[in-house]
Amino acid sequence: MIKFDQVTKVYSGNPSPALDDLSLEILKGEFVFLVGASGSGKSSFLRLVLKEEKPSRGQIHVLGQRLGALSSRKVPYFRRNLGVVFQDFRLLPNKNVFDNVAFSLQVIGKSKGFISEAVTDVLKLVGLAGKATRMPHELSGGEQQRVAIARAVVNKPAILLADEPTGNLDPTTSAGIMALLERINQGGTTVLMATHDASIVNQMQRRVIELSNGAVLRDEQSAGYQTQALPIQHSTGVSNTTGIQTIPGLIR
């Protein structure tokens, strides 16, 4: 699904690389946490997956495509297979909930009928069915993030990238967001989430990739935020533990 092969990313003006000879692979249907201190390379990793940046060295394969060989004209079509969620939601303040979600379908040229059906469905999925006509500023942070997630997944992407989606939210709201991401993952979407939130990672017990200075410090299945094992341990079985399900998804 996502494969990094000895990828190095150096930004101009900064001698130490953001990613240093990084190799890893993320499989279809996985739920992966990307953890590490600020500046460890998490955001660079996500930007490289999106092809917002080019690697200085190495190969990146996403969804069977070699990103280095992808012409810039084809990048938009490649991105339609990816959903992205940010810490700061990035909603359009002058559009209501429905239009914010519909916008991402309009700009890729979907028909009106398809849009109204798909948006209604996805708003139901994220638990905002009754708030389609609200404006973003009338919503709580958690609800705004749900709208952002709805926008990211309305086109049924194969991969959902989330860059600290709970960074601005309180623990209870965060738990609701995680339940939603969990549900999306169960629908077959690969979820890659960069986060600093230790309690969420501990709770979920999913694959954890910890970066440090642009290199993989550990890569564990069913792990917590802090390592409880030897660094870089490759276990094969994908955990089915879904601790989050014991927490009710809070929808306000």
Binding site: S72, R73, V75, R79, V84, P93, S104, I108
Partner: protein, 298 residues
């Protein structure tokens, strides 16, 4: 389309300035083209009428090949022979001879309000061969072969009198083109700035569009259209100004005052106006296209 409208509304003042600058610059462009057309038309008109005059000596002439004696019958016939000879014949369309009496009549008519007619007598005036050339620019051949012939005072190409006028008109048309191109540069830069501003005020939308995979064409089309529409309004205004100039100034003023001269008409304006609109739209589209590319870089 709705986005184009909202983009135009959002920075009305910039759009108005784009409209005005393209309006003025394209008016200059159009005027320069019309002036060139006018020059060509006048050249055609006057050069067709411009003749080469072969003046023969009079009793009082001492210039040229004259010795103060009137050209003899023989000398006149010699010139006549030269004009019909096989060397000069191919260049000449027609020739006619004007004797002193005819020259005097024409002189009296031309200067009938001037006191000069009282002093001038037929003897003072040159017998003249008026020569119409097939190609007026080949007058040099005639001047060269006839000015050394005995009894010929001088050979004058009348086009020489017209040249200063055309030089003046040419200079003013180049000035108009110079001003027009400066204004066009300003218009292009202004359009680029306007589009960048418009893109900047919509950078959130643009960011999201790029994120969810809107194609480059989808993203840039509204901006390019915005620039093109603003410039097209200016170009249409310029077209209107050009038509007005031709209609009110040239046809209804100049052409009535100077009825002997050929002036450009509405047919010429009908050629210039579409050209001006096409220039405006193409330049605007190109500059908007280049300006927006920065926001499409991935």
């Amino acid at each position: 389309m709705a986005e184009v409208g909202s983009g135009l509304r959002r920075n009305v003042s910039m759009v108005v300035s784009v409209v005005l600058v393209t309006f003025i610059s394209l008016t200059f462009v159009g005027t320069a083209i019309l002036l060139q057309m006018q020059i060509n038309q006048m050249k055609g008109y006057w050069y067709d009428r411009a003749q080469v005059a072969v003046y023969l000596c009079t009793d009082t002439d001492t210039t040229g090949n004259c010795t103060g004696a009137k050209a003899t019958e023989d000398q006149r016939e010699q010139v006549q022979e030269q004009l019909t000879s096989s060397t000069l014949k191919p260049y000449i369309e027609k020739t006619y001879y004007e004797d002193q009496g005819q020259a005097y009549d024409r002189f009296k008519q031309q200067f009938k309000d001037s006191p000069a007619t009282e002093f001038v007598k037929p003897e003072y005036l040159n017998e003249t061969f008026w020569v119409n050339l097939k190609n007026p620019s080949q007058a040099d051949v005639l001047v060269e072969s006839l000015s050394k012939v005995a009894g010929v005072q001088s050979v004058v190409d009348q086009r020489g009198y017209l040249q200063p006028i055309f030089n003046l008109l040419n200079a003013s048309s180049y000035t108009a083109i110079g001003i027009a191109s400066l204004m066009l540069v300003a218009a292009v830069l202004l359009i680029a700035t306007t589009i960048r501003l418009s893109a900047f005020s919509r950078r959130r939308e643009l960011g999201i569009m790029r994120l969810v995979g809107a194609s480059n064409r989808f993203i840039q089309t509204p901006f390019v259209l915005e620039g093109v529409i603003a410039a097209a309004i200016g170009a249409v205004l310029a077209g209107g100004a050009i038509v007005a100039v031709v209609w009110f100034f040239v046809r209804n003023y100049l052409a009535q005052r100077f009825s002997g001269t050929a002036f450009i008409g509405m047919g010429d304006a009908a050629v210039v106006v579409p050209a001006v609109i096409v220039i405006g739209v193409l330049l605007a589209g190109l500059s908007a296209f280049i300006a927006i590319r920065r926001y499409l870089r991935v």
